[in-house]
């Protein structure tokens, strides 16, 4: 620490003793300061770290972090969206906070990716409790946990890689054990196996790998009989991640398959009566319920919601959305055919979440956001000021959360985002 700053802090100390009135919120009990701060949008929290030292300490207090997380996970109707763009070259993350600006043009802000030197290209595997799980899209063997609002990130231990493989990821939090888990469902083939002439490689073998965050190694759960379709995130509902299975010889109909983060078992979940899952493009959690977006004829989108988890009769066709083309997207732009490996072919409109006003937020062809009001059947474009042309939308929760594992406590001060000197 240089002399100047030391002098500064000394002067400051005496001043506090002389005049306690200047300390503002520090005079308030900590719970009250927490209560006020927990009502603020995430951008304000991040900024207010540099109000003064006391506020910075306040904002790093695990109690506040938990309180804020509880608040923001309850309020799912004011999402904080993370936009991931990997086109044309550099990978960037952006965010839009629906809690911060209501009834306005949504401002899109760019988030610095502090790990870009180690992982220049990545995919978003999932978002849970304010943490993003990212995978290296160039080499496919690194995984990172990243909180875009604190800048903290951590590389996860490496898992076993097969030379020729296809991976379905899942990331979720187990509320019962308070553990985060990453699951890799790996489909692979032996070098000389498979059918060389088929257009799509057939991966006949599988292995399920699980990592509990904080543990040094991945565990293997053996093989899985379902062939799951890769999606950006395996909708987390009721402590289980969900995917749709591919049809195969002995199971011709697609299934709705869940993975329980507690007992680590795969189980089937009753399907909606939407005429098979062939046209189901998305599984999402809407207001905490497992929901399936089904793309129908004449560009119509049906959204089925399972009101009571695991109860077949509780599936309801909640939204029936007619065709809509967001303004300004009339002409077809040039775009490389495969930007995202996990992007499902044929997906036009993706369901994101239900907003405060009851409208449902949708994404159009990775290019625009719009909302649909089920009351009057009207569409509304969400103007994204400063958004990239192409993006993958991830419904996120803005928080200052971080994974509390014993191994993190050791290097808490030394991680990349910790502020300089104190």
């Amino acid at each position: 620490m240089d002399l100047d700053s030391e002098k500064h802090s000394k002067r400051r100390k005496t001043k506090v003793e002389d005049d306690p009135q200047t300390t503002g919120m520090e005079l308030l009990p900590r719970e009250i300061a927490h209560d006020i701060l927990s009502r603020l949008p995430i951008t304000s929290l991040v900024q207010f770290k540099c109000v003064c030292r006391a506020w910075r300490a306040l904002l790093q207090d695990p109690q506040l972090v938990n309180l804020y997380l509880t608040f923001s996970t309850l309020v799912t109707d004011q999402p904080c969206l993370i936009l991931h763009c990997d086109f044309p070259i550099r990978n960037n993350l952006y965010f839009v906070d629906f809690a911060a600006h209501e009834e306005e043009k949504e401002k899109v802000k760019t988030i610095r990716a502090p790990f870009s030197s180690v992982m220049p290209e990545f995919e978003v595997v999932g978002s849970c409790n304010g943490l993003l799980c990212l995978s290296d899209s160039l080499y496919n063997d690194s995984l990172f946990i990243y909180n875009p609002f604190t800048g903290r990130y951590k590389e996860l231990p490496k898992s076993f890689q097969y030379p020729d493989q296809e991976v379905v990821f899942g990331f979720g939090f187990n509320a019962k054990t308070k553990e985060y888990k990453v699951i890799r469902i790996v489909y692979y083939r032996n070098r000389h196996g498979g059918y060389p002439r088929s257009r799509r490689p057939i991966y006949s073998l599988s292995e399920v790998q699980v990592l509990t965050l904080g543990c040094p190694e991945w565990r293997s759960l053996g093989k899985v009989s379902y062939r799951l379709v890769r999606r950006a995130s395996g909708a987390l509902v009721n402590g289980r991640l969900h995917w749709i299975s591919r049809p195969c010889r002995n199971k011709p109909a697609r299934r709705l398959v869940s993975f329980d983060l507690t007992d680590e078992q795969f189980r089937e979940v009753p399907k909606p009566d939407c005429g098979g899952l062939n046209r189901c493009t998305d599984l999402v959690a809407l207001r905490g319920c497992l929901s399936a977006a089904v793309y129908c004829n004449y560009r119509r989108l049906e959204i089925w919601v399972m009101k009571e988890y695991n109860v077949k009769g509780s599936w309801v066709k909640e939204y029936n959305i007619g065709p809509y083309l967001p303004k300004g997207l009339k002409q077809k732009p040039v775009r490389p055919p495969k930007i995202w490996k996990n992007d499902s072919s044929g997906r036009v409109v993706g369901a994101l979440c239900v907003l405060k006003n009851g409208e449902i937020l949708l994404e159009y062809k990775n290019r625009a956001l719009f909302s649909y009001d089920p009351e009057n059947g009207k569409f509304k474009d969400v103007e994204l000021k400063g958004a990239p042309n192409w993006f993958q939308t991830v419904v996120h929760v803005g928080s200052l959360n971080w994974i509390d594992t014993p191994s993190d406590a050791d290097n808490q001060g030394s991680d990349s985002a910790s502020p300089c000197v104190s």
Binding site: G24, M25, L28, L37, R39, L40, Q47, R53
Partner: protein
């Protein structure tokens, strides 16, 4: 089914249990004296004073006293808190959520920043949960999306970071400082 024969007897039993409310006749309103730290005396109706959990428990411990000293509370915020609680009593007797909401909103909008901040420790000390909630939200509304400088002046906070430290903190989350609301 056998259970259907049981149910009528059950319902007759429950009807007998209808409560007999003992109608309280209007008592003469008792006044309670509150004394602020700057020695100002406030005479308030008992019902209003009982809104203050701290005062209430004071009376439960020593019912014979007639003046409650409030050593942590100055006169101005106390008078505003009393004003708020008087209104809340009316809403308690005559519930009207919309009207209450409107009053609460008006109560905070007409207060200065300093008044709000000064009232919070008072509401906290006197344990008036509703008011605390209203005040905390009001303060949050006033500082959300504002600049760091605005927040410092709002609470009268001195910046104790060195210029280099602050610059480093701002660099770290440069995106967050874009597009804040005007002060």
């Amino acid at each position: 089914m056998s259970s259907s024969t049981d149910s009528p007897t059950l319902t007759t039993e429950t009807t007998q249990l209808s409560p007999q409310p003992d109608t309280e006749t209007a008592k003469p309103t008792k006044k309670i004296t509150l004394k602020s730290s700057d020695n100002q005396i406030f005479e308030v109706e008992e019902s209003v004073a009982m809104e203050f959990a701290t005062v209430k428990s004071f009376f439960e411990d020593s019912p014979s006293t007639d003046t409650v000293p409030l050593p942590n509370v100055t006169a101005k915020p106390l008078s505003q808190v009393i004003e708020f609680c008087k209104e809340q009593i009316k809403f308690k007797a005559n519930p009207d959520e919309a009207q209450k909401k409107k009053y609460n909103a008006e109560f905070v909008t007409e207060k200065s920043d300093k008044d709000l901040v000064d009232m919070i420790p008072v509401a906290n000390y006197l344990e008036i949960k509703d008011l605390l909630d209203v005040l905390n939200q009001a303060v949050a509304d006033r500082i959300e999306n504002k600049s760091v400088e605005y927040v410092r002046s709002f609470f009268g906070i001195d910046n104790d970071f060195t210029a280099e430290e602050e610059a480093a903190l701002r660099r770290e989350h440069a995106w967050a400082y874009e597009g804040v609301d005007e002060d």
